[in-house]
Symmetry: C2
Subunit: 190 residues, 2 copies
């Protein structure tokens, strides 16, 4: 493979050239937000919001490669819950990941399979580490797009299904202006 470069805009998160851009709308995250009545109201009255986009650099998902992308997580809430990514484990659970904050302000929320939760604040310049075995999701707690760069091993694989089925044990909500983890009543209900 020949060396190459992509250009990352730190202000917009756009990567050029990029692989196929992933767009996640509210309809892609049915059942993930706590306040289902508010979710339904937004879908009905405001339409199917764009929650986040992922710009990947096109690379083979093979051992030895270092995959990388940007994520642009738009500000907003569903009820008092912050806009978030779906979140996933790596198929190979021992594969880690590093995030580098480029713009905006968010939390990396992490979970072990036993339900242990942790969170890490990310601002521009924050290198946040997802150690082996932690599922990872990000939440935008600011008023601007939360944008970060990510790099992870080429053979990690993505396991979205476990989170889609079981959820995160805790969810990040606004409690009087403070981002606060609260128990997810639907956690583990499949």
């Amino acid at each position: 493979m020949q060396p190459f470069a992509s250009q990352v805009s730190f202000s917009t998160g756009v990567i050029q050239p990029s692989g196929k851009v992933i767009e996640r709308r509210l309809s892609d995250m049915r059942g993930m937000y706590l306040d289902t009545a508010e979710y339904d109201r937004i879908m009905r009255e405001e339409g199917d919001r764009l929650v986040y986009q992922v710009y990947p650099v096109a690379l083979p998902e093979e051992p030895g490669q270092v995959l990388h992308c940007t994520t642009i997580l738009y500000p907003g809430k569903v009820g008092d819950e912050y806009h978030m990514t779906k979140g996933h484990y790596h198929q190979l659970r021992d594969r880690a990941e590093v995030y580098l904050g480029l713009a905006g302000r968010g939390y990396l929320v992490l979970q072990l399979e036993d339900g242990t939760i942790d969170k890490v604040l990310m601002e521009p310049g924050t290198a946040a580490y997802v150690p082996p075995n932690w599922a990872h999701r990000t939440c935008n707690v600011g008023d601007e797009p939360f944008i970060f760069f990510a790099a992870w091993p080429g053979d990690s694989g993505h396991d979205y299904g476990t989170i889609e089925k079981l959820g995160f044990a805790q969810l990040l909500v606004d409690r009087g202006g403070q981002p606060t983890l609260v128990p997810n009543p639907r956690y583990g209900q499949g």
Copy 2:
């Protein structure tokens, strides 16, 4: 392992907290620069310049981890050859690496073991990819510190010895203000 964060300054390259900072001075690179008379003159008359520093995030060098660091490569030349890093292969040759330019302007210079050379211009926001099997070195072609973030697989290992012994087949020099690759007459002489 618990999740954690480090703060990266995009303007200075400093990471806090970091592991042990690596400093490379001209004396660490004896024999790597083309113009040995000028190298000797600088060492004698100007002293042992700081060429670059590496701020690593402290992580175990194990499969699955994603190691990351910043490099701060100071501007300067030895004769008409730009300040550069020593350069290395990965011990596991198939391990790739991604660089993200943060400040300044430089070239990533890459080499396969058959002597094939390539180069990639890096500016702020450039995500430059080191594919499997390429030795990699950076050169500062600007007037400011050239600063970049790097991420690579935890089991890559570093093979500096092959480059220390054989060198790069080509070196990056200033030809009338243009960064230009020229043959290295000492390449492969061990």
